[in-house]
Amino acid sequence: MWEYTDKVQQHFLQPQNVGEIENPSGTGDVGSLSCGDALKLTLKIENDVITDAKFKTFGCASAIASSSILTEMVRGLRVDEAAKITNEDIAAALGGLPKEKMHCSVMGREALEAAIADYRGVPLPAAEGELICECFGVTDVEIKRAITESHLRSVEDITNFTKAGGGCGKCLGHLQEILNETLNEVSPIPVVPVVKKRMTTLQKIKKIEEILESEVRPGLKKDGGDIELVDVDGDTVIVSLSAASGRSGATIELVELKLRERVLNTLLVEEEEK
């Protein structure tokens, strides 16, 4: 269950200014059924002052509450003042929204912007951008704006605020690029995975024999012992030890250390069962 503020609850349960103004001065129609939320905002403007605002919203509690409070906020404002309202202002007026619901406040700001553009008879800047998220129809212009205005720092933030990337996820890489570009940050240095050293069994056997001969056997022989390679099964090296002092356990560990260091760091050395 979402944690909604009392203000959100209040505007959801008793929404203000529901409806549609007849012959509006400006109309903002944003969102769609497929997106899961949509808002139609109609404004009545006289002498450049918004005298009435009404809304119709399809969506969840926070979408309805955002729309309702938006109509209250713009009533009585001059158009140029109303144009300065950001989605952060809408969310703040509601006492905050859960971060996954911030896109509802963005929808409010978009509808207001569209209605004002409609009143002024100018095209919307967002409509000119390049479509990035096909699932929710979000353009790069909208994404960049959200990043700057709401100080977004991750792709997840972008999805919470604009919905971009919340569908099929195909554009997530693109969103990261836009984020990096907008923040003027260099992409992080990609982590290069450590390439696992691969050896064929034959190579392993040869190398192990070589190391045993040159670096292990001489030391053992000095104490009257010896070592023979019995088998190599994957990374398991089986040897037979004839230790003079009966300290074969310690010897096995030393052989393993040596072979790991000189041949392959995943080797396990076991003594042949007698």
Partner: protein, 391 residues
């Protein structure tokens, strides 16, 4: 909200613990705290209680007691069954499931490489507009490379019942292991594993009036099995960990009650569901039933109210303390509506406004009538606000 008593119609999410179940389990949280593995009589009597519970579960499922493994939840049972099959046949690299599975299977099937270190080909069977699968597509998907089939017995959102008996038989004839996630089906429809050739069956206690935190994995005698939790000798070495005794006793009692209530579930509860469903479809214009009307659980109905959004509906219902669920995007925390409704191709106009009511034996006719009295007004209020509603 305090003015209205709770009307709980969200029993596919979880159920209330039956008073009889609670009564049966409490001694094992108080005086009977022994370890069932202990040698002394004090612990031994607790072992007897676990044994009785195992028998009660086996009776409900038509299984042998030694085929029942107690787990912590349905999800653990699902993971155990699927991963056991993959470990038993590491050379087989194909898994069959469906697009409408619970996330416990859906997300597991997408994580097999991470879990096993091997790559798998996964066939997720498609569904039609009523949510049913095509047995021909299933038959064609079965191959020598298939390690396991995992098909839910009944769907949690629509209540649809799948032809598990036929599907299990088809797999068996090809020597392929079969698992069924029966979390929603057990206790709501009769299950007799003596007649259904599944190798594994998962169920969960809290869906049938036992507490949360208990589950069952049924493993047929003779089915190869690799434990998920290695450890002590509990559950015959098939699932390590000291038994959650009180909850196991509760689950046993709940299974016994479910068996006794099976007829009521399929008559009285079904009649309540039908009354609610028919009433809503009739009183609310442009409301659509999701799922397969003939072939589904007796307690579930999933209805879409077009042009309104599910979270908004649920929060209005919440004012009257009516509890249900929705497949809308906003309730899931994701931005897309339920994967089940999308797989069925339910249009967006309806998917966002879907509400699932799931009843139990604790619901009454008065409650159904109260809900029927409130829903049309709620939908009307929200539609009056919707820019898409041209009523």
């Amino acid at each position: 909200m305090a003015d209205y008593p709770v009307i709980y119609m969200d029993n596919n999410a979880t159920t209330q613990v039956a008073p009889e179940v609670f009564e049966a389990m409490t001694p094992y949280l108080t005086e009977l705290y022994g370890n069932p593995s202990s040698m002394h009589t004090f612990g031994g009597q607790v072992g007897e209680a676990v044994k009785k519970a195992r028998q009660q579960v086996a009776t409900l499922l038509g299984a042998y007691p030694d085929e029942i493994i107690f787990t912590s939840c349905g999800t653990e049972s699902d993971s155990t069954a699927v991963l056991s099959a993959l470990r038993s046949f590491p050379e087989k690299r194909h898994v069959i499931t469906s697009q409408v599975e619970h996330p416990a299977i859906l997300n597991l099937s997408e994580s097999l490489e991470v879990m096993t270190g091997r790559r798998y080909r996964v066939t997720a069977l498609k569904v039609d507009s009523t949510g049913m699968i095509d047995l021909k597509e299933y038959e064609d998907a079965l191959s020598d490379d298939t390690a396991i089939v995992s098909m839910m017995w009944a769907n949690n959102e629509t209540g649809n019942i799948y032809p598990v008996k036929e599907m299990a038989q088809m797999a068996k004839e090809r020597g392929i292991l079969f698992h069924t996630d029966s979390v929603q089906a057990v206790g709501k429809v009769p299950i007799n594993l003596a007649e259904v050739a599944v190798d594994f069956l998962s169920m969960s206690g809290h869906k049938l009036h036992a507490p949360k935190g208990t589950g069952i994995l049924y493993v047929r005698r003779g089915t190869p099995y690799v434990p998920f939790l290695a450890g002590g000798h509990q559950e015959g070495g098939r699932r390590g960990g000291t038994e959650n005794v009180a909850s196991i006793v509760a689950l046993g009692k709940a299974c016994e009650m479910a068996g006794a209530r099976m007829e009521e579930e399929n008559t009285r509860v079904k009649a309540l569901r039908d009354r609610l469903e028919a009433g809503l479809l009739q009183s609310v214009p442009q409301s659509i039933l999701n799922g397969n009307r003939e072939n589904r659980l007796p307690n579930t109905t999933n209805i879409s109210f077009e042009m309104v959004e599910g979270e908004a509906i649920l929060l209005h219902m919440n004012l009257y303390n009516i509890c249900a669920s929705s497949g809308s995007a906003c309730t899931s925390g994701s931005l897309e509506p339920s994967h089940v409704l999308r797989a069925m191709g339910v249009p967006f106009t309806a998917a966002h406004g879907s509400v699932r009511f799931s009843l139990s034996a604790y619901n009454s006719e008065e409650e159904v009538d109260f809900v029927l009295g409130k829903m049309p007004g709620i939908i009307e209020t929200l539609r009056a606000m919707s820019p898409f509603w041209k009523g």
